[in-house]
C-alpha cells in the first residue's frame, strides 16, 4: 500500500534521503524512528508529493505519487505533528468541511459516528475547536481520516506533546484503524509508543534507513539500546 523504491532527495546538494526502500502493507503500522534531520519528515513529504524525489518512486496503492498526485492523494490521510483545525468551527463543522473537500457529504449521524470512532467525547462535538486540547484535535484529525476512507495514513510525530493518557488512547486508535486495513506510516521520536503500536520499525540516520525490524523481535530495552547504538554511529 505504501511503498518506496530507491527514494532519494537532496536539498542544496545535501542528501536528505538516500535510496529509501520500504513497504507498508494494509493493516500494518510502520514507525520511522530517528533523530532530527534523519529524513523522517522528508520521507512523509515525498509520499504526500509536497516534495519531488530526485530519484526513485513513492507509491500509494500502486500509484506513483509524483506522476499521479491526485489519485495518490485520494488514498492518503495525513495528520501533522501539531494538528490545527479551524478554531472558530466546532469539531463537527471541521469534520464536515474537510470531508466535503474530498467530495463526500455525510449526514450528521455519520459524522458523529466518525468522531465517536475516533474517540472524541460527544459533548465536544459542537464545541469550537479553539477550546480543544491537542489530543482532541488529533482525534478530530483521525475522524477526518476515517471519513475520507483513505487506505493510507501518514503521521508526523503524532504523539509529540500528548500526555501519557492521550498518547495511550492514540496508540489504541491506531491499532483499531489497522484492523480496518489502513496502512500507517508514522515518523516519531517516541520509542515506547513505536514499540507498543507499530508492526514494523525503521531506524533512520542521516537520510538512510539503517535498520528495519519487527517489534516482536526485540524488547523495549533492546529497541532503545539498538536505537542509541545506531545514533552513536559516525
Amino acid at each position: 500500500m505504501i511503498e518506496a523504491y530507491n527514494l532519494s532527495k537532496s536539498f542544496n546538494g545535501q542528501p536528505a534521503l538516500k535510496q529509501l526502500n520500504l513497504a507498508v502493507a494494509p493493516g500494518e503500522i510502520y514507525a520511522l524512528l530517528g533523530a532530527n534531520g534523519a529524513g523522517k519528515t522528508t520521507t512523509i513529504h515525498l509520499f504526500l508529493n509536497f516534495l519531488k524525489p530526485d530519484e526513485g518512486e513513492a507509491r500509494i496503492d500502486g500509484q506513483n505519487v509524483a506522476a499521479n498526485p491526485q489519485r495518490a492523494r485520494a488514498q492518503i490521510a495525513y495528520i501533522p505533528e501539531n494538528i490545527q483545525l479551524y478554531p472558530n468551527l466546532s469539531g463537527m463543522e471541521n469534520l464536515a468541511y474537510f470531508s466535503a473537500l474530498t467530495g463526500k457529504k455525510y449526514e450528521r449521524a455519520e459524522l458523529e459516528m466518525f468522531l465517536t470512532e475516533a474517540g472524541l467525547e460527544p459533548e465536544a462535538f459542537d464545541k469550537r475547536a479553539r477550546y480543544y486540547s491537542k489530543g482532541m484535535r488529533q482525534k478530530t484529525g483521525i475522524a477526518i481520516a476515517l471519513a475520507k476512507q483513505a487506505k493510507a495514513l501518514l503521521l508526523d510525530e503524532p504523539t509529540s506533546g500528548l500526555d501519557p493518557q492521550a498518547s495511550n488512547e492514540f496508540a489504541s486508535l491506531l491499532k483499531r484503524l489497522s484492523e480496518y486495513g489502513i496502512a500507517t506510516l508514522m515518523a516519531t521520536h517516541d520509542l515506547f509508543r513505536a514499540k507498543e503500536t507499530a508492526t514494523h520499525i525503521g531506524i533512520m540516520r542521516s537520510g538512510e534507513l539503517v535498520q528495519s525490524l519487527r517489534p516482536k523481535e526485540i524488547g523495549q530495552a533492546g529497541l532503545e539500546a539498538l536505537y542509541l547504538q545506531q545514533m552513536s554511529q559516525p
Partner: protein, 468 residues
C-alpha cells in the same frame, strides 16, 4: 469547491472575535462619518433652504424695479445635495455648491481656490468615502494577510491540499469570503446613508458607483491573499501589505498632487483676477479697449436706427451697451476659464498616470466623478450656472434696452410681474455616462489591476505548501 471554501472561510471569519472587532470598528467609523456628515448636511440643508426662501421672497418682493439694479441685486444657484454627494463629498467642501448669480461678475469658487489646487486634489475630511477607500481595504489586508501563510505555518494547508483542494481554489474561495465582508460593509453604508438622506436616487449611477468599489475591494482581496500565499511568514505578508497600503493611500497621491501642481501650476487668485480685469479693460488682444468698443457700438446702433444721437433713439442704449460689455466679459471669462480648465486637465492627467501605481487614486477619482463631486463635476455645475447667468443677465439687459425706457433713464422701473416670471436655476447632474467619459483611464487602471490580481493568483497555483 470554491463555494465550499468560500462558505467555510466566511463562517470562520464572521465568528472570529478579531474579525468581529475589526469589522465592527470599520462599521463604527462608517457610521461616525455618516453621522458627522449628517450633522453637516442638516445644517447645510437648513441654511440653504432658509437662504433660498429668503432670496426668492426678496426677488419676488422686488416690486417695480430697475432691471439693471436687479442684475446687481442678483440671485443664487444651488447645487442639489444627493445620496452620492453625501457618500463622497469630493472637492465640494473646498469649492462649495452655492454660487451667486449677478451681472458683470462670474462668481466662481474656483477663484477662491485657484492658487490651492493641491488642496482640491486631496481628501482630508473624515467622510464616508475616505473610510470606504482607505479603511475598508485596510480591513481586507488584516483579514487576508494570514489566509494562506498562517495555514502553511500551522500545517493546515497540507491537510487541505491532501483533501483535494488546490492552492488556486483555496486562494479564490478565501479572497471571495473577505470580499463579501467588505461588500457587506459597503452595502450597509449605502443603506445607512439612504436612510439618513433619502431623496431621489440615480440608481444607474449608484450601481456603477457600487461596481467600482466592488471591483476595487476584489482586487485588494485577491492581491492580499496572493501576497499571503507568496510570503514565507504571515508577519512578512502583513508588513508587505501594510507598506503597499501606505504607498497607495498616502505617498503616491501626495506625490502625484505635488508633481501635478509643479508641472502645471495654476495662477494665484490675485494674478487670475488681474489678468481678467486687464483683458476686459484693454481687450482680449490688448488693442481693443472698452471705450473704443463702446464708441463703435454707439455708431452701429445709431446707424441701425437712422438717427444722429443717442437721445434720438427709441430704445435705451444703456441696456444694449451693458449687454455688449457683458458679452465681451463672457469672452474674457471663456478664455480664462478655458485656460484654467486645461491646466486642471493637465494636473488630472498626472493623477491619472499615478493611479497606475496606486489603484486607490483610480477608485477615488471614479468615486468623486460618479458622486458628481470631482473638479470636473464642479466645473460642469459652474458652466451650467454661467449659462443660466448669461441668459438671466441678457433678459434683464434686454428689458432695460427695449422695455420702454430712454437712454440715461436709470430710474426707470420694470413691472414686478416681469421679475416674477424669470425662470429659477435648476441643475440636472450629468449622470454616470458623462462622469465616466472623463474617467475612462481610471476605469482602465482599475480593470488592469484586477486582471493583474487574477494573473498573480493564477501564477500562484504552484506555490509550496511547505514552510521553508
Amino acid at each position: 469547491m470554491i463555494r465550499l471554501i468560500f462558505l467555510n472561510e466566511l463562517k470562520g471569519s464572521l465568528r472570529d472575535r478579531r474579525v468581529q472587532l475589526l469589522a465592527g470598528f470599520t462599521l463604527l467609523l462608517l457610521a461616525l462619518s455618516a453621522w458627522t456628515g449628517h450633522g453637516a448636511y442638516e445644517h447645510l440643508q437648513a441654511a440653504r433652504s432658509k437662504a433660498a426662501e429668503k432670496a426668492e421672497a426678496q426677488w419676488d418682493s422686488l416690486g417695480d424695479y430697475n432691471p439693471h439694479g436687479a442684475a446687481h441685486y442678483g440671485t443664487y444657484a444651488y447645487r442639489p445635495l444627493g445620496l452620492l454627494r453625501m457618500l463622497d463629498a469630493g472637492v465640494q467642501p473646498y469649492t462649495g455648491d452655492v454660487l451667486k448669480v449677478e451681472g458683470h461678475v462670474q462668481n466662481e469658487a474656483m477663484y477662491a481656490e485657484a492658487s490651492r489646487s493641491t488642496s482640491l486634489m486631496r481628501l482630508s475630511q473624515f467622510q464616508p468615502a475616505l473610510v470606504l477607500q482607505a479603511i475598508v481595504p485596510l480591513l481586507l489586508i488584516f483579514l487576508a494577510f494570514g489566509s494562506i501563510a498562517r495555514e502553511r505555518e500551522q500545517g493546515v494547508l497540507k491537510m487541505l491540499v491532501l483533501q483535494g483542494a488546490s492552492i488556486l481554489q483555496l486562494m479564490a474561495g478565501k479572497a471571495l469570503a473577505y470580499w463579501s465582508i467588505s461588500l457587506g460593509l459597503l452595502l450597509a453604508m449605502v443603506a445607512l446613508m439612504a436612510l439618513l438622506y433619502g431623496g431621489q436616487v440615480d440608481w444607474a449611477t449608484l450601481g456603477v458607483f457600487l461596481l467600482c468599489y466592488a471591483l476595487y475591494y476584489l482586487l485588494v482581496a485577491l492581491l492580499s491573499v496572493y501576497v499571503s500565499g507568496r510570503a514565507q511568514r504571515s508577519s512578512s505578508a502583513l508588513a508587505l501589505l501594510l507598506g503597499a497600503w501606505l504607498v497607495w493611500v498616502f505617498i503616491v497621491p501626495k506625490l502625484a498632487a505635488q508633481l501635478g501642481q509643479s508641472l502645471y501650476p495654476l495662477p494665484s487668485r490675485i494674478a487670475f483676477e488681474e489678468q481678467m480685469q486687464e483683458d476686459r479693460q484693454k481687450g482680449l488682444d490688448g488693442h481693443n479697449p472698452s471705450d473704443q468698443r463702446r464708441k463703435a457700438l454707439e455708431e452701429q446702433v445709431l446707424k441701425e436706427y437712422g438717427v444722429d444721437s443717442i437721445a434720438q433713439l427709441p430704445i435705451n442704449f444703456d441696456g444694449i451697451a451693458m449687454q455688449a460689455d457683458e458679452e465681451y466679459g463672457n469672452q474674457v471669462w471663456d478664455k480664462h476659464f478655458g485656460q484654467y480648465f486645461q491646466t486642471i486637465q493637465q494636473q488630472n492627467r498626472v493623477i491619472q498616470w499615478a493611479s497606475v501605481l496606486a489603484p486607490f487614486l483610480a477608485v477615488r477619482n471614479l468615486s468623486m466623478a460618479l458622486a458628481g463631486t470631482s473638479l470636473y463635476g464642479h466645473l460642469h455645475f459652474q458652466r451650467s450656472v454661467e449659462d443660466y447667468r448669461r441668459h438671466w443677465v441678457k433678459t434683464l439687459n434686454d428689458k432695460h434696452a427695449y422695455g420702454g425706457s430712454q437712454s440715461g433713464d436709470w430710474g426707470w422701473k420694470a413691472e414686478a410681474a416681469f421679475f416674477q416670471s424669470m425662470e429659477d436655476f435648476t441643475y440636472q447632474p450629468p449622470g454616470a455616462r458623462w462622469a465616466l467619459s472623463n474617467r475612462w483611464p481610471e476605469l482602465a487602471v482599475l480593470l488592469a489591476w484586477f486582471l493583474l490580481a487574477i494573473g498573480a493568483l493564477a501564477s500562484a497555483k504552484r506555490i509550496s505548501v511547505l514552510e521553508t
